[in-house]
Amino acid sequence: MTTLALYSNKGGVGKTAAAVNLSYLAAQGGMRTLLVDLDPQSAATFYFRVKPKLKRAARDFEGGKSLEAGIKATDYENLDLLPADFQLRNLDMAFAERKRSHKQLDLALRRFRKEFDLIVLDCPPTINILAENIFATADHLVVPIIPTTLSVRTYEQLLAHLGEKWLAGGRVLGYFSMVDARRALPRQVMADLREQHSGILDTSIPYLSAVEQMGLYREPVPAHAPDSPAARAYRALWEEIRGDVSGLG
């Protein structure tokens, strides 16, 4: 079982779009996949037309037992969803109160190791205890980077925070997201960053309206428009990740 976290401490960079599309592609390929929506804004849950129940208490994360009851099948083979039923602030506080506070998420998700081949975490932009929990449970962080100077700076801050161990293990997979290929500046930024860091994937996700419209048709892009450039881009990204990460078949 492999856990991938779509993580960035910035919002609006394409985490949820990637989490939804990549987990769909993994499931299509035959992996039993669970997408965990950790973001109280519940965008991933919305894309799969699942109605979130916001009343669930954060203490449910303990041991994960009742998490299991919360799992919903999506409309797609092999793909289940754990909806965003939690108040993020509550989750943070609940984790903080416990011993081994940064291991709580890992403990809760442990029970799914047998049942699923892949767990994809769609993370909110967070840097506090929830983030430490995400780092503790994810095998790899998949980090979308918008090719602007500011975003790149944020990415480098993240790498600095994570430290040598993560980098040496190739556990951070950055990729460029929402790329406007017509503009020269992003190209320069991308080239520079690739020069300095080896962990950046070759595949980028362009800025494409098909992705933007996911909120309208509420389906993964490759399900809605399998031959679109957007679907092709996510497929290429998934193939590259599969090639770089062990245990993805």
Binding site: F48, R49, I71, K72, A73, D75, D80, R218
Partner: protein, 518 residues
């Protein structure tokens, strides 16, 4: 998990068109109509796959091995023609699992089913799927106008939506007057086909009561054995696989054994007549069975030989192969002869008779009495002969002991229903261990003699034949060595079966053990 399908049989006479309308009225959305597909379900004559909770089906292009009862796919393989034997398949996990389940039996087509499915979804107000529905229509391809048909509606709950699925199932059920069922298409098909073809089992499952008159009970056993013999005739003649003859011969051997053991319950001259005829019948099949056994063992023999000699025994097996067609023709001719038809008719008539004045008094004794007596006697003989082998080294008695053991095994099977199974089972287990040892030992004896006799028939002027002789020598030497190891284990297996505790148990169940030193 919430993965258990809810299944309903759709009442006969409700057409596909009608279902289409009814489902649309219930708000189900048609997602996918699958084209009709024909499946050929394969299993052995005695349904070994079904017994192993497996199912094998061929689509015309692909072979699927599935696990029952949920039909989950274990292995799949592209294949242009259905296999007859496991050995027809390319090496791999499917062949391995299939071979373990059916060898040496052949696969028969037990049902051909054409089915077509329509996939629906029930959606909520945001167009999220709450449950999947599948309407399936299936028809058994019997070539007849009124072939069995099956129309099924399956409600497949999605994880996290069990309540919604149950509600939908309830509603559909009452609106469409559906009948809940556990069946699905494969199970229905196998059942429906089974109804047509009849079921075969070589098991002796005769229900006897202890107070049943002995002749009547014995006739029941013998009738069941006759059925088994007759059920195998067609397969022997069509040469489908070697197990038909094997089962036939076992039933025949059991018949002869029962007749010998229970001879006191029938008029003497009738018993003598049938015993003679049945012995001749058995002999008629010996040659073919020997050839079957040795040819089936060819790969095993080769594996014993050093690499440099493995090809050398080919002339031996070519010789056997060249004789098999003739041996089969002889058996087929025997089974198709007027003599055989007359014997079967006489035998069936005899078994159909009711006991009368001309019968000995023993015919009317309760079966439990001769059953106990015969088993006790048989066991006594085994104790006596085995002791002689061990104490006086009379190894030629090992063959006799094996036959006595077999006979005891048959007796315990005939009369299994008369004794508490929990008490008999441990005895049978120990007996089986002894028989395994004796069987392996005496088989090796027989095989050595057989191989040497075939080797004698080869033309020694040929270089190939000379090499075959050397290889035969090697095989015989290996077998002799293996035999010595088996002989060393005999004492343990025998003591285990005849220990004082075992003897007490036999005495308790079947009566006194006679002629044995305390």
């Amino acid at each position: 998990m919430g993965d258990v399908s809810i299944r309903f049989k759709i009442p006969e006479g409700v057409s596909r068109g009608r279902m289409e309308t009814l489902l649309a009225e219930q708000g189900a959305l048609l997602f996918e109509a699958q084209p009709p597909q024909t499946w050929h379900f394969l299993d052995t004559f005695d349904r070994r796959l079904a017994a192993g909770v497996l199912m094998l089906k061929w689509s015309g292009a692909e072979l699927l091995l599935c696990a029952l009862p949920d039909d989950s796919i274990l292995h799949r393989l592209r294949l242009p023609a259905p296999p007859r034997f496991a050995s027809d398949l390319p090496e791999g996990p499917l062949r391995e699992q299939l071979a373990a389940a059916i060898d040496p039996r052949a696969l028969l087509e037990i049902a051909v089913v054409t089915s077509q499915s329509w996939h629906y979804r029930l959606l909520d107000d945001e167009a999220k799927t709450l449950a999947r529905l599948v309407h399936t229509e299936a028809r058994l391809e019997t070539g007849e106008e009124d072939a069995p048909q099956f129309s099924l509606l399956t409600v497949r709950p999605l994880r996290g939506y069990d309540r919604e699925a149950a509600r939908a199932a309830d509603q559909l059920r009452s609106e469409l007057s559906l009948i809940p069922t556990d069946d699905d298409v494969p199970h229905w098909a196998l059942d429906a086909a089974g109804d047509i073809a009849g079921r075969y089992s070589s098991k002796l499952d005769v229900q006897l009561a202890p107070q049943m008159p002995a002749a009547e009970a014995t006739r029941l056993i013998l009738l069941r054995l006759l059925e088994t013999m007759r059920a195998n005739e067609a397969g022997i003649k069509a040469d489908i696989d070697i197990e038909f003859l094997h089962d036939y011969r076992i039933a025949l051997r059991r018949t002869r054994s029962a007749l010998r053991q229970m001879r006191g319950v029938f008029p003497r001259e009738r018993v003598d007549y049938f015993r003679g005829e049945l012995r001749t019948l058995g002999r008629m099949t010996n040659n073919l069975r020997d050839l079957d056994v040795y040819l089936a063992a060819e790969a095993g023999y080769r594996a014993i030989l050093p690499a440099a000699m493995q090809e050398d025994i080919t002339p031996l097996f070519d010789y056997l192969r060249s004789h098999r067609a003739g041996a089969l023709a002889e058996v087929v001719a025997g089974l198709e002869s007027a003599d055989y038809a007359r014997l079967v008719e006489e035998w069936a008539a005899f078994l159909g008779e009711a006991a009368g004045d001309h019968d000995p008094a023993q015919a009317f004794a309760p079966i439990i009495r001769p059953a106990r007596k015969r088993i006790a006697r048989q066991y006594s003989g085994i104790v006596r002969d085995g002791t002689r082998i061990l104490e006086r080294g009379e190894d030629d008695l090992l063959h006799t002991l094996r036959i006595e053991g077999k006979e005891l095994r048959y007796l315990l099977e005939f009369f299994a229903g008369l004794f508490p199974p929990a008490e008999v089972a441990p005895l049978i287990k120990r007996l089986r261990r002894l028989q395994d040892n004796l069987g392996a030992y005496t088989d090796l004896d027989v095989q050595q003699a057989y191989l040497l006799s075939i080797a004698e028939a080869l033309d020694i002027e040929e270089a190939r034949a000379r090499r075959a002789l050397v290889a035969t020598g090697f095989l015989v030497e290996t077998m002799a060595r293996e035999q010595r190891a088996l002989r060393a284990n005999f004492a343990g297996a025998f003591h285990d079966f005849t220990s004082p505790a075992q003897q007490r148990q036999f005495t308790k169940l079947f009566g006194r053990i006679t002629g044995v030193k305390p």
